[in-house]
């Protein structure tokens, strides 16, 4: 036939020496840790433009909150950030308790502190394992999940659930701590610091790890604050800001711990911050274990807190309250609150508006991952594509937390 040349790559791009390539990273990609799609424009190996596309995991939790009563909403908050379920429980119940003007017994507050610190460990362990596996350090993942399993067992011991614990309730905690909890917690606290040393042995001085993580992912601190970045990322950039210290909640002021800060402002410094946070969390858990106050684990508020089973079966009044709480829920005086707490990923704020009924008028979650993820283009544009995987890992986002 004819001699017509089939257009080739070379002829198609004749005239310009390079051609930009648009690449879909995700939504199903292991390094996106969930379902995040990033539209990446590449010039060779360099990212010239990155556009995150979120919403694949949007489940309408905020809408659903308006259809349930205050106590039922606790179960939804677990599912916002499925790696930091108890942090979400805590922020929500603190908000409702602030609206109600409730006093929480000390034992419940300490239990909450202890278990949210376990949540931080759980979240950081999953982060470290997956972050390391992204960069190619396979074994760290197995080590981290070994210890995480112990934490999940402790959650199961307390609440009967490994992940969706719903253990904190308005007015206290769902059940008193089970018999023998001290033994389980002590075993973990004694064992864990040596395990952190193990991770550090594998990574901190590992030349491959340091070369993959040092001096990448820099972002000026002003830009970070402007974009809404919070948590370990901002502490890895040198700002000592931790809501547990600055605006203590749930009796954090009674615990002795340091806020780790690094100034290098790169992927490695965020790793150092999180590893040190694990050590500090273990310290807090140890203090909670040693100084756990006795007494009631729920507030004395019969119209809000479910009565004990035994009372419900023997006392008329308790039976009535039980019936009312289960069928109608409890009403909350009108008002609005914004309660920020330091979740493993940063500032987690619950904005709760009550109109005086037994269902929230509006529950808005200011989730740390949402604010942090929007700075992703600032972090990875102009970088190599291989670095972008390390940077994304250092952000530590959870897509459930982003999309709600």
């Amino acid at each position: 036939m004819s001699e017509t040349a089939i257009p080739t790559e070379a002829t198609a791009s004749a005239g310009s020496s390079t051609r930009k390539l648009t690449l879909n990273l995700g939504p199903q990609h292991p390094s996106t840790h969930g379902v995040l799609r990033v539209l990446i424009e590449l010039d060779g190996e360099t990212i010239t433009k990155a556009t995150p596309d979120i919403g694949f995991l949007h489940t309408g939790i905020e809408k659903q909150c308006e259809a349930l009563n205050y106590q039922q909403v606790v179960t939804l908050t677990d599912r916002v950030d499925y790696l930091a379920n108890l942090s979400n429980n805590l922020a929500y119940v603190l908000g409702v308790e602030k609206l109600l003007g409730m006093e929480i017994p000390e034992r419940a507050q300490w239990m909450r502190v202890m278990l949210t610190e376990f949540t931080r460990l759980n979240s950081h362990l999953v982060w470290l394992g997956t972050h390391a596996i992204d960069i190619g350090a396979m074994s760290v993942f197995l080590y981290c999940f070994r210890e995480r399993e112990e934490i999940l067992r402790i959650f199961e011991l307390f609440s009967g659930q490994r992940m969706m614990t719903s253990y904190f309730r308005v007015g206290g905690i769902a059940l008193d701590a089970p018999r023998g909890w001290q033994h389980a917690v002590k075993k973990f606290v004694d064992m864990f610091p040596s395990k952190i040393d193990e991770y550090e042995n594998l990574l901190t001085n590992n030349p491959i790890w340091t070369r993959r993580t040092k001096n990448i992912g820099h972002l000026p601190i002003e830009e970070m604050l402007d974009m809404g970045i919070t948590g370990p990322m901002i502490r890895g950039a040198g700002l000592k800001w931790d809501i547990r210290k600055d605006q203590p909640y749930s009796s954090y002021e009674k615990f002795d711990f340091e806020v780790p800060v690094q100034t290098a402002n790169d992927v490695f410094s965020r790793y150092q911050v999180r590893v040190e946070e694990m050590r500090q969390s273990t310290r807090i858990i140890k203090q909670a274990l040693e100084g756990m106050p006795g007494g009631a684990y729920q507030a004395d508020a019969p119209k809000i807190v479910l009565p004990e089973r035994e009372k419900m079966k023997t006392q008329m009044e308790a039976l009535i309250f039980h019936f009312k709480i289960v069928t109608d829920g409890f009403t909350v005086p009108p008002g609005e609150v914004y309660v920020p707490i330091e979740a493993p990923r940063g500032e987690l704020g619950y904005y709760i508006v009550s109109d005086g009924t037994s269902k929230p008028f509006r529950v808005h979650m200011r989730t740390p991952s949402f604010g942090t993820l929007q700075a992703l283009p600032n972090l990875i544009e102009g970088r190599m594509i291989a670095d972008s995987i390390a940077i994304m890992g250092s952000i530590d986002f959870v897509l459930g937390d982003v999309d709600r």
Binding site: G55, G101, M227, Y338, P340, E347, Y351, H364, G371
Partner: protein, 161 residues
């Protein structure tokens, strides 16, 4: 007209001195300060609070739907000052169909929060660089967090199905 309980709140006093017409009211409830701002002046107020009062962080932007009351919407801004270790809430009443200035020029981080509010409430932010849906799919009809949007049912779904 500064409400009495806000006399000790420096931001409210400064705002009142700067532009009395911008501040429409507010309250101090459960230790949290809420200022009601004229929607037409929100950008200038935010600029002032950021530059003069160290509110360098915008925590979140969201909205409330008071359907069927009028004005229907209340846009909510949660601000944080690291230096003063304080939070501040601004609220702007907005009628249905009206639009409000974007504060992306003050805090770039407002970008996604305003997109989310647009997506879920249908509130338009003027001057926003990229006001498109963020959580819901592109072809979605309606704005889910409005009170007249049903929690259950198939009436609202994808447009092309």
């Amino acid at each position: 007209m500064l409400p009495e309980q806000l006399n000790a709140v420096p931001e409210a006093v400064a705002l009142e001195a700067h532009d009395p017409s911008a501040l429409l009211g507010g309250n101090l409830d459960r230790g949290e300060v809420t200022l009601l701002i004229d929607a037409a002046k929100i950008e200038a107020v935010c600029r002032l609070l950021k530059d003069k009062h160290d509110y360098i962080r915008l925590c979140t932007v969201t909205a409330l739907d008071h359907y069927p009351m009028e004005p229907r919407f209340m846009v909510v801004y949660q601000l944080h000052s690291l230096a003063a270790n304080r939070y501040l809430r601004l609220k702007c009443a907005l009628a249905e169909g009206a639009s409000i200035q974007s504060v992306t020029s003050v805090w770039r981080g407002a970008n996604w929060y305003e997109r989310e509010t647009f997506d879920l409430f249908g509130i338009t932010f003027e001057g926003h660089p990229n006001l498109i849906r963020i959580l819901m799919p592109e072809g979605w009809v309606g704005h889910p967090l409005r009170k007249d949007f049903p929690t259950h049912g198939h009436k609202y779904s994808y447009q092309h199905e």
